[in-house]
Symmetry: C2
Subunit: 381 residues, 2 copies
């Protein structure tokens, strides 16, 4: 059997993968296509919900007998271990697939090359490394999570053009326009948890959920009905969150964790009241700057949270940068000047230009006069 | 004689006008085209150096006898008064032009409709209002100068993405990349004067001139050899500028004014030394915030300076904004985070969001990873 690769099938598989974007978390959304005689697509699919069929299985089920002797295109190395589902390699072998084209290896140590080996051992021809850049981008959060064993951290800030998040009278509602704020809220669909600080909770009494109305304007090929509001995580060392605030009152609808300091907690009564209202209380180490953010991300990684969105004020934003834990920043900039002292990262000071936190701008978008700048952190000494 | 307008000739005239961009100051650069029998361009031209031929005269000289019975396209209403040159209306009438198409009236009270009247009085058919928006943009500085009787004020700021102009150790060299700084220096070609403060002079010992090397990358259809370094204006209430600084040492090559306070000046010896080195000393009112900026712009308007570039630190930038005298801002933003307290407008505080200085973004340009944002001031209460 000749091996003849065609990018059109891998592109098809990548488009399939996009459809499972909100569905498969914490697993990556993979796409798979079964091709008979180089020309005929006889099956396709993407990752289903966590614990259900992987992309390969969906595609092979659709292909039925046509899988015999066919080629499989898949965006990530098939798994070879028993997890929530049987190994995909077994399903591929049993289906009689003769050739497998893989965009990229899965860095997950349980797979990482072993999936390819298993297929080869059964006489299947395997080739790896097609459109890997696209897939790396598509699986950015998952790959970061697996490689660094902590969630990918996205930070959102809304500022005036001179870098302020509030006027000197404390007003911060609103600096950016409604459309920009909606765009910012839609970032919540990208993550499994939102992190905020007690300062923001006390100031704004926010809901931090995904609003149905917002979803109407979300552009995606994925099934929107699979989008769930992320876990809400409030960093509140001294358990100051009032019981009658939105975040507590809605905790039975939207999963909510309040992270308190393991050394400052002394109000057992408050703990119990919050727990009764559906809030999960987690204790983590803290110092004068607040909760230990590395410990926080390790805790969230254990919960299989692959990406988080940080939505907070100047203090916690500064802390995340100081802890070198920010991977990507979405900056919503409104062309107005406020002056005053409420700088976006007012608790941060790198000292010298050489020591600046260096970012790379990857997109700039006009949102009805406001500007959205997407940036990756490239250097944070 | 029928009147049949064609936009291709007005476009031609606008392109001609662009060629005189650096040449005609403080006069606007106008373009003119003579068209015979609706179809044949027999003459064209743009404004020459101040005091020399206007565009209409250049075009009509080229057209010679062909101007008889022809149409004239001109981007601004022809002048009808004796200034440095005879009135263009007279030249047009004498040449036998039968039809004149004018993009827009000249708001200069010496002309303003009177040019049109004069032509009509001599039996010439005149129509006004073609591609006026393009011409308004092209003559933006001149129109502002005539309408408001003060120069158009462009401010340039180079900042980190969090709105800082220096790290906390005071370093400001360099936040933006070389290409962005060059782009910023080229703004000097747009103006007849640069304004800076004594703080910037003492900190950076700048030249504030136009560099020949920079001009190589300047994109323009105008004759670059007509570009002159602008007048340098230093706001120095107490005459602190050291005699051995660049700005003083080169004052015989590049015209330089030091503006001191009329109430603080007491060092006659320093005045004389500076004057001997070629610096012009001008005294203007001042208060604790520095030189009165309205008085400064009135003084520069008298000198027929139609546009100025403000290149300075946080204090003077803030003062110009507080005085509501900024028309346009060029923001050079580098995607790096500095933190600390050196905010771009640190001496400004609008108090509330409603009271923000509102800007309108008109262009966003990537300069090798840095971002140039061009903004107009829309509201400054």
């Amino acid at each position: 059997m000749m091996m003849v690769y065609s990018p059109i099938y891998m592109e098809f598989a990548i488009r399939e993968a996009a459809k499972g974007h909100y569905l498969s978390r914490p697993n990556p959304s993979v796409g798979a296509v079964v091709v008979e005689n180089f020309t005929k697509i006889v099956g396709w699919g993407h990752s289903q919900a966590y614990g259900q069929d992987h992309a390969e299985v969906v595609a092979l089920k659709m292909a039925r007998d046509h899988a015999q002797g066919a080629a499989l295109y898949v965006t990530l190395e098939p798994c070879c271990h028993y997890g929530k589902t049987p190994p995909c390699t077994k399903v591929i072998i049993d289906a009689g697939i003769k050739t497998v084209y893989i965009a990229m290896l899965d860095p997950n140590p349980l797979v990482s090359g072993k999936g390819v080996e298993e297929l080869k051992k059964h006489g299947i021809k395997v080739a790896v490394g097609y459109m890997a850049e696209e897939v790396q981008k598509q699986l950015e959060y998952y790959l970061h999570f697996v490689n660094k064993n902590r969630p990918f951290v996205i930070m959102k800030n809304a500022i005036s053009i001179d870098g302020k998040i509030a006027a000197s009278n404390g007003e911060s509602k609103w600096i950016t326009n409604e459309k920009a704020r909606q765009d910012g809220r839609l970032l919540r669909t990208e993550v499994s948890a939102i992190i905020t600080g007690i300062g923001t909770v006390l100031a704004d009494d926010p809901m931090l959920n995904i609003r149905e109305g917002d979803l109407e304007v979300l552009e995606t090929t994925a099934d929107k009905s699979t989008i769930k509001s992320p876990l809400r995580v409030v960093l509140d060392p001294h358990l100051k969150t009032p019981l009658d605030y939105q975040i507590v009152k809605t905790a039975k609808t939207y999963p909510t964790i309040i992270v308190a300091s393991n050394t400052h907690i002394d109000n057992e009564n408050k703990v119990e009241q919050l727990q009764n209202m559906g809030v999960e209380i987690v204790l983590l180490p803290s110092d004068t700057n607040g909760i230990d953010l590395e410990a926080l991300l390790s805790f969230l990684a254990e919960r299989k949270i692959t990406a988080v969105l940080v939505e907070c004020g100047a203090k916690l934003s500064s802390s995340f940068l100081k802890a070198k834990l920010v991977d990507k920043i979405y900056y919503y900039v409104s062309p107005k000047i406020l002056g005053g002292n409420y700088s976006v990262y007012s608790h941060l000071d790198v000292g010298s230009i050489d020591n600046a936190i260096e970012l790379e701008t990857t997109s700039i978008k006009d949102i009805e006069g406001d500007i959205r700048i997407e940036m990756y952190v490239k250097k944070n000494n």
